[in-house]
Symmetry: C2
DNA sequence: CGGCTGCTTGAAATGAGTCAACATAGGTGG
DNA sequence: CCACCTATGTTGACTCATTTCAAGCAGCCG
């Protein structure tokens, strides 16, 4: 199943880790070099997915968490009546499937938004490793804890903010995440549709469309279909905070 | 700090655990008896809180998670501009503060809604125990995983449901939780104000008031201020699911 | 007993949704 | 390679659920 016996002997720590995207997440709070290699060995080969392909399905027991290497991914729950609620969009270097970390059942599904590569990380192996590496244990808890905090921020956004603030927050957040991952904070492509954005933010897709136009008319962004250029981060943040209302 | 040396030698497992509310949560998926006692020893003495008293504060590092023994509690985040978003209400036997499980900083605050007793559980001690008790490790992850799932359900509720469905879901959920804890599913007191309910559900408090009246007029509930009696669980669930729309 | 806070109800205002028509891009097959 | 077709996005007009504003009421605490 895993290839723990496989030896790794490169000079550079990063270069020696096949699946850096996930391992990098653990670096900031210091696992030592040996630990990192052990962890890296547990991470399954990347998998290539086409747009729309399922990574894991709500209700199934994958026993894995996942890391995005390239491309992007959305997660969503499906209600009894069949309607979907998008829970998050995941960029390269980010994790998903943490809701299945107890090794039981995923409470949401993950789907590729475009061509994407993802790494699989079997929770079982992680648990075994945790005994040997107390640092990893802590890292894992940190990650989940952050997940909860993110959800709480989202609850606030959905419950208390108007459409303008929601979309501005969404764009500002995307920008910050691209920046954190080494991409441009000013110019990026939306891999998700207007419908997806609306679903995620609790808005009709027409509303999203209208707001994008409004932001453009106010010279806050430039928007050509999927391509977004942020012209005025300051104004965008002010709209997000409700300090600035447009038109 | 903790009283690990303290010996416990009662016959009944439950009777021998001073802080059953938390320990019970771990029972369903089987820690053995010795483990339970060890766990119980780590749980700090109950604390008595008056209405409005703070249990833990957003931004502070308590290093603890908490279990409600009696009374009820709300958790909420405070945004930059000072406005609050209630994240959840917690009944006896339920946990809170899991967002601070990484032993760092709480991303929300907890406050007693009425006179309440709560137990404190230092995460540090838990981590130590986890090494000795692999089962506990798993239990903890399960709990957090469930927390995430609950948040996801809430995201769906806030983003996709109308006011009627939100309130019906809220009441049905409360009822189920009371039942699960051995209280009546039909009759209970709301310890939170209309304002709190509205804040939690992303509604104006006037809307909550109006809906309660509407539910009463439709003979779904009886409502005398804080006292709620559910007359028709079936109808309530149908409203929650959007299968039934009132008036 | 009075004042305060929380609750209820009404009337008016409005933000976002719905419905509908049209535009554009990208993909497919002839 | 072009023409068509379907997806997705845009924009307008109208509707309506929920909010906001406002007034009155009821329970509760000091």
């Amino acid at each position: 199943m895993t290839n723990v016996e496989q030896k790794v002997n490169f000079k550079s720590l990063k270069a020696s880790c096949k699946n850096c995207s996930l391992v990098e997440l653990c670096l900031p709070r210091g696992l030592d070099s040996d630990d990192l290699h052990t962890l890296d060995d547990v991470i399954k080969q990347r998998k290539l997915l086409r747009k729309g392909e399922l990574i894991f399905n709500q209700g199934e027991e994958s026993g894995c968490i996942f890391a995005v290497r390239s491309g992007s991914v959305k997660t969503f729950t499906t209600a009894k009546n069949g309607e979907e609620q998008i829970l998050g969009f995941h960029l390269p270097g980010e994790l998903l499937g943490l809701d299945g970390i107890d090794n039981r059942i995923h409470s949401c599904s993950g789907v590729a938004l475009d061509t994407a590569t993802i790494c699989e990380l079997p929770v079982k192996d992680l648990n075994v490793l945790c005994v040997k590496m107390p640092g990893l244990q802590q890292q894992l808890l940190n990650l989940i804890s952050n997940e909860i905090t993110k959800d709480h921020t989202m609850l606030l956004l959905l419950a208390r903010r108007n459409a303008e603030q929601k979309l501005a927050t969404f764009l500002a957040n995307l920008s910050a995440r691209f920046k954190a991952r080494g991409y441009s904070a000013d110019e990026f492509d939306l891999t998700m549709s207007r419908y997806d954005i609306g679903n995620y933010l609790g808005l009709a897709d027409e509303t999203v469309s209208r707001l994008i136009s409004k932001f453009r008319e106010n010279n806050i962004i430039q928007a050509e279909r999927k391509r977004i250029t942020i012209l005025d981060h300051n104004a965008l943040n002010e709209v997000a905070e409700g300090e600035l209302s447009l038109n």
